[in-house]
């Protein structure tokens, strides 16, 4: 975890790696496992439905990155806000949005969160504090900063979890946001999900400096690098950073080192990396396998319980897929609704 001096000073960026938290209870970890498995199975099903032509257009899967959002959202409170870019299905599920509504949006049906008008990249739930789902790389960062501004303006105690990728980390508006967030001490955590590739371009080929957790340094925003493949580490780092931000000390940058197993979107053959690289990550760093082994080794869970969870999750996902195929397409009359609110 970031050392105390750095956190207290609020100046400069951290150099250290976050440590693994051991404090979580067995039930919390089982809950994390279930959430990560739900995201994994949901995304696999989405990929399958895409292959069947039931989901179209752009569809960016979160497989491999599950520990990031699940570990971070463990520190979210009621009333906090969450915003992300277009690889957003995992974030929605981690916020407690229903798998049925998300999957039905992917198939463009009236039962989807946006009544079929948004699609994979554009879903929202005011109730769950989820503010999208944004398709323009980098644009969600000022938006998230505005959500944090509203928390501070209203003094409601909330903070914003603002997720974006290593690709977005090179957009100018990210730094415009960092500047204002630090200047005004806004309660926001910038979570950079560094999955190593912005579409087909590796971080090394796109970024003059690759330590993304230090990107807030010029604005006196502290940063920390976290193993985003290990939910325990994410959980521990997230809890500490969330406390810091919630206490009114201003923004924080977290770089999550993670990896997506699938292509950038469904239509990406991923020729920019080797099969061996992907296989190695899956074999050695899979967030689900890591947590499963951790829990089994410590006898926090037995195989039978894991099997039950697996069965439950499959049922939820299958029900979602069923709903997404049977929910009707939006009525043609919906074409001209929701453009403006009646004044």
């Amino acid at each position: 975890m970031p050392n105390e001096t750095r956190i207290d000073s609020g100046k400069g960026a951290g150099k250290g790696r976050a440590a693994r938290g051991e404090a979580s209870t067995g039930e919390q970890l089982l809950q994390d496992y279930r959430q990560m498995l739900l995201i994994r199975r949901f995304e696999e099903k989405a990929g399958q439905l895409y292959g069947m032509g039931l989901i179209a257009g752009f569809c960016h899967l979160y497989i491999g990155q599950e520990a990031v959002v699940v570990g971070m959202q463990a520190s979210a409170h009621q009333g906090d806000s969450i915003i992300t870019t277009y690889r957003d299905h995992g974030h929605m599920l981690a916020c407690g949005m229903e798998a049925k509504g998300v999957m039905a949006e992917l198939t463009g049906r009236s039962g989807g969160y946006s009544k079929g008008k948004g699609g994979s990249m554009h879903m929202f739930s005011r109730e769950k504090g989820f503010y999208g789902g944004h398709g323009i790389v980098g644009a969600s960062v000022p938006l998230g900063t505005g959500l944090a501004f509203a928390h501070k303006y209203r003094e409601d105690g909330g903070i914003c979890f603002c997720y974006f990728g290593d690709g977005a980390a090179n957009q100018g508006q990210v730094y415009e946001s960092f500047n204002m967030a630090s200047l005004w001490k806004l309660p926001i955590i910038y979570v950079i999900e560094n999955n190593k590739y912005g579409m087909g371009t590796s971080v090394e080929r796109a970024s003059a400096t690759v330590d993304l957790y230090r990107r807030g340094e010029a604005f006196a925003i502290p940063g920390v690098q976290v193993n985003g493949m290990d939910v325990l580490e994410v959980r521990a780092a997230g809890a500490e950073v969330a406390d810091y931000v919630r206490s009114g000390k201003g923004p924080y940058v977290m770089e999550m080192n993670t990896y997506r197993y699938r292509g950038h979107s469904m239509s990406d053959p991923a020729k920019y990396r080797t099969k061996e690289e992907v296989a190695k990550m899956r074999k050695e760093s899979d967030p689900l396998d890591t947590l499963r082994s951790y829990m089994l080794e410590r006898q926090l869970v037995d195989e039978a319980r894991l099997k039950d969870i697996d069965r439950d999750v499959r049922a939820v996902v299958n029900e979602a897929a069923e709903f997404a195929q049977t929910s009707p397409e939006p009525d043609p009359s919906e074409l001209f609704t929701d453009i403006l609110i009646d004044a």
Partner: protein, 457 residues
């Protein structure tokens, strides 16, 4: 239940592909995520992954087969505990997935030959009988913001130099003193950032007034205005609106050159999800800005620097509102309709006065709103005068005048006794030299000549 593996579509446009290679073979145990096969399309080679755990029970399409249609079953996976007997009957081709686009709703209906007058659902502006005072457009804008900030604690103003400096054009004079730095916020020079921040705050339900020092600088932020503010309500199926005002001076000031002298009216008027207004008088400024602040949608308020210092008689009732979407007949007339907005309304009125001396009775329509545009009022006027001139500072191509000409073809074609004439800014970047600048902007004389030409006089 055995699970069928179907030939997947790996891109939005793929219809078939070659089954290049089986990586797993019959009898192999497979786990979710394992690569089963490789598929070649015209664009790429991609992998088919298993979506379930089990045993690869049967391969239905041998490797090397070309032209395998999307959704053809290519293999069967047996779940835990199933044996090959379960394969019976499982290889039927599934019901084809309906890939046809659903029936499209009828697009905008073709206008009926009779050209019915379009009805506006915007209420007519009520007759104002309350008190008025002489004040500048600048003071009218300032007073309106102050009144709305007193009325609603969630309204705040942010922008460059709006607080300590009292506004680059002194529109926010005195607001910092009254409302403090929490609600009157100086931003860094960071248009895209603070416009996006404002939209995020509006998502959360606050009501930001974002001032651009001029709309020229809002080009840095136009992605946030269109993609984030205007489109989100629709993309969210009506769940999440953005009650935000983007305001500032638009169009040419005087002698400030090409990058600081552009009219953005048609840019914003083009976009569904936005409302766009352009006040001319002090009353317009008050009534339209108040309507914008109270509106639950993103509203772009295009002001004009040259008008800021002009004095008008202005309603002082703190609830005076002009409905967005209604034009105003500034000067009734019967011979020709002159449609204008913002500072060009003044030019049109000058032209109308000169035309009256020549015996031509011009009707001047002040558009006030550019989205929605008040088609009914323009069409009613054209049906009366049978002649139409539009005046704007902006460039001619795809401009507001072009839109009005098209609308009148749809709604008043049979009533036109002459082709519509557009008076616009010259199709050049704004020059600096005084004489060239004058040649670029629509002058009163050009409007007079246009009106005479459509009257054939």
């Amino acid at each position: 239940m055995p699970i069928q593996v179907l030939m997947p579509a790996l891109s939005p446009t793929m219809v078939d592909g070659k089954l290049a290679k089986w990586v797993k073979h019959e009898g192999d145990t497979v786990a979710s995520g394992d690569v089963l096969a490789e598929i070649e399309t015209d664009k790429a080679t991609m992998e088919v992954e298993s979506v379930d755990d089990g045993v690869l029970g049967k391969i239905l399409v041998v490797e090397g087969t070309e032209g395998v249609a999307v959704n053809t079953p290519i293999a069967v996976i047996l779940a835990e505990g199933e044996d090959a007997a379960a394969l019976k009957g499982s290889v039927d081709v599934p019901a084809p997935v309906n890939m046809e686009p659903s029936t499209m709703p009828a697009s905008t209906p073709a206008p009926a030959p009779a050209q019915p007058l379009p009805a506006s659902d915007v209420p007519t502006e009520p007759e104002y009988t309350g008190p008025t005072a002489a004040m500048t457009v600048r003071e009218a804008l300032r007073d309106t913001m102050a009144e709305e900030m007193r009325r609603d604690g969630e309204v705040f103003l942010m922008g460059e130099e709006v607080a300590s400096y009292q506004g680059a054009y002194k529109i926010s004079q005195g607001l910092l003193d009254e409302f403090g730095p929490k609600r009157v916020i100086d931003t860094p020079i960071t248009e895209m950032g603070f416009a996006g921040l404002g939209v995020g705050a509006a998502f959360a339900g606050l009501k930001p007034i974002v001032e651009f020092m001029t709309f020229n600088f809002a080009m840095q932020a136009i992605d946030q205005i269109i993609n984030s503010a205007a489109k989100t309500l629709y993309m969210a199926g009506g769940q999440l609106g953005s009650p935000i005002v983007f305001r500032g001076p638009n169009g040419a000031a005087a002698r400030v050159g090409a990058q600081h002298s552009q009219c953005y009216a048609s840019w914003y008027a083009h976009c569904p999800g936005l409302k766009v207004v352009a006040p001319y008088s002090g009353a317009d400024a008050k009534g339209l800005l108040r309507a914008a602040i109270r509106d639950p949608n993103p509203v772009v308020v295009l002001e004009n620097e040259i008008l800021y210092g002009q004095t008008f008689e202005v309603p002082t009732d703190p609830d005076f509102v002009i409905p967005i979407g209604r034009a105003k007949i500034e000067r009734p007339g019967k011979d020709v309709t002159i449609v204008a907005f913002s500072r060009m309304v003044g030019v049109a009125l000058e032209a109308a006065a000169a035309l009256a001396e020549a015996g031509i009775d011009a009707e001047v329509v002040n558009l006030r709103s550019l989205r929605p545009i008040d088609t009914a009022t323009i069409a009613t006027s054209v049906r009366k005068t049978n002649r139409l001139v539009s005046v704007e500072e902006g460039w001619p191509a795809a401009g507001i005048g072009a839109e009005i000409a098209a609308l009148m073809m749809e709604h008043a074609f049979d009533y036109l006794d002459a082709p519509v004439v557009r008076v616009t800014g010259a199709d050049v970047p704004m020059p600096y030299a005084a004489n060239l600048e004058r040649l670029t902007l629509p002058q009163t004389q050009a409007v007079i000549e246009a009106a005479r030409s459509v009257c054939y006089r």
